[in-house]
Amino acid sequence: MLIAAPAIAVIVGVFHQALPALGWQLFTKRTNSTGIQNAILGSLLFLLGVLIVAGTIGVGAGIYLAEFASGRTERALRFFSEVLAGMPSIVIGYIGYVTLVVEFHWSYSLLAAVMALSVLVLPYIVKTTEVALRNVPSALGEAAAGLGLPRSATVRQVLLPPALPGIVSGLVVALAISTGELAPLLFTAGFSDNDPTLHLFHHQVPYLTNVVFTDISIPGARAHATAAAAGVVTLGILLVLIAIGRILASRARRNTARMSL
């Protein structure tokens, strides 16, 4: 009971706090009036960016570690990826600020934010991709090699399809993690009351967790309700992503179970 209670308490508590601000105006008005439309769009834009940057790199790295690497390099690369997973998110935010925003003159921008988020979730994607590929029964790969299929074709045509649900599930959960993050974005994304643009540099991007964080410290019930409403929307996106991830993960388990028979 003690394990189930906090999750329910948090969700109910935030929802209750948000009640006065919930409504369609959240999605149609911007943060300079009563909505959070621009912040929602910004957060979704980050998800897209993370999918492009961390998704491609992470899945590629996972495939390499599972299928192409051998011995010492594999161990070293995996070790450093795990070390990166333990990096405190505020340190990533600090480095993102002093290097990307200041040293590289990107200023608060979409690219700086996406880079910081990507470093954060990259190790997670690498790990889940590698595990998904390793869960494919080895007989499949051996049979393909026995038939003379080149290694890259084996991976693409034989090993990747059954591993795909597992890989996508990892990606989706990584996106869920990045939806709720604030520390790496605090000094890289900035904020704006306008809708986000696709400019990579020099344009500040509004996002949901920032609305939660700043509106908490603005006095007045209206701001507090908006903070909680932004929290509810964040939780909503997150729960949908986690649900998708779970469904895909169970499908992945069924896939591999069927094949090993």
């Binding site: 790199i57 590629g60 390499y64 570690l65 333990g86 002093v98 890259s152 709720g180 507090h224 986690i242």
Partner: protein, 364 residues
């Protein structure tokens, strides 16, 4: 007269693999060489591209570490060992007076001591562990040993849900709902007992205890989910033996299950601790963020290394000597080393129990 010692291994006593094993090892190496040379040209291209991707996490780590050292260096030289003995103050940033030490300038009156922040970081994370470990372990054991599988799966969903809630939401909940609730009820009652450290004004629910409790809630899913797997891995034969010897269920847990999972629980707690050490946003919102203050009671506001970096970077940027930004980098470096060491330690310990290694350290 000296006796010549033959340091070469004695061929008769050196452990030699039996002939069959040696042949197998040699054949395995030959196969591996053959496999790599069998790569066709497109294979090599694909492998090369993927290798670039695989190196990026390592590169990112090296880049972060290098930049952190580069930015912290002036502060390390300026502070020397004082960083571990003094208090924290950004100094008078409105005057142009500066102090110079070892060739580096800082505003007059500025001292960059990490001690109060380190204290805040350690005390809040340890109080969190104090609450989270017993709850997680008891919960996991009850879940596996007492409840039917269907209910286990159902409660498991809540555990995953809790792991997925982001820290800013925990902050929101802590400051609006949980903190005020505790302050109105439990805290008032505790404070009336007049125990040292546990008395004094309880405020509106911000402060050390609320922050620690929220941290505890955040690390319960990490500790509980690993402990759950550990309890499931206890060999049934040992438990059946205990039952056959006439032990009651609670005695079975005490004498069979707990000894079996002890090391694993320690590893899980270390992983949870690593998470609590690096947590920023939730603590920043709930702690009251009183910069560089030592809490005098468990209800007092305080600050941690992570919250100080988050809240002070803005002010640090106004420092014309630039030393404040470097000092924050030095703090970040200390946090980095502490967190990475705890995290790695926990991971190495858990790897003994779960082959896959758990993707923990960061929500979900």
């Amino acid at each position: 007269m000296s006796v010549a010692v033959d340091r070469r291994p004695d061929p008769a006593s050196a452990p030699r693999l039996p002939g069959r094993a040696r042949r197998l090892v040699r054949a395995h190496r030959a196969r591996r060489r053959a496999r790599l040379s069998e790569l066709t040209r497109p294979d090599r291209v694909v492998r090369g591209v993927l290798l670039v991707a695989a190196i990026i996490p390592t590169f990112a780590l090296a880049f972060l570490a290098y930049q952190m050292l580069k930015y912290a260096y002036p502060a390390i030289v300026f502070n020397g060992w004082h960083v571990f003995t003094t208090k924290f103050s950004l100094g008078n940033q409105y005057s142009t007076a500066v102090q110079v030490r070892h060739g580096y300038k800082a505003p007059k009156g500025a001292v960059y001591g990490i001690l109060p922040l380190l204290f805040g970081t350690l005390i809040s994370s340890l109080i969190a562990l104090f609450f989270a470990v017993p709850i997680s372990v008891a919960g996991a054991i009850l879940l596996v040993e007492r409840l039917p599988v269907r209910v286990q799966g159902f409660l498991g969903i809540f555990l995953e849900l809790l792991a997925g809630i982001p820290s800013v939401i925990f902050g929101l909940w802590g400051i609006y709902t949980f903190g005020p609730f505790l302050s109105r009820t439990v805290y008032r009652w505790i404070a009336d007992l007049h125990i040292p450290w546990l008395r004094g004004p309880t405020g509106a629910g911000e402060g050390l205890l609320t922050a620690s409790l929220v941290l505890a809630v955040m690390i319960i899913p990490i500790i509980a989910s690993i402990t759950r797997e550990l309890v499931r891995s206890v060999p049934p034969l040992a438990k059946e033996g205990a039952v056959a010897l006439g032990l009651t269920p609670s005695e079975t847990v005490r004498f069979v299950v707990i000894p079996y999972i002890k090391t694993g629980v320690i590893a899980a707690s270390i992983l949870g601790w690593a998470r609590a050490l690096g947590e920023t946003i939730a603590v920043l919102i709930i702690s009251g963020d009183l910069l560089g203050a030592y809490p005098h009671s468990i209800f007092d506001p305080f600050s941690t290394i992570a919250t100080t970096i988050a809240s002070e970077l803005d002010s640090a940027l106004t420092d014309s000597t630039g030393m404040a930004v470097h000092a924050l980098a030095e703090f970040g470096l200390v946090l980095l080393v502490v967190t990475l060491l705890t995290n790695l330690g926990g991971r190495l310990l858990t790897r003994r129990f779960s082959a896959a290694g758990l993707p923990v350290g960061r929500g979900v």
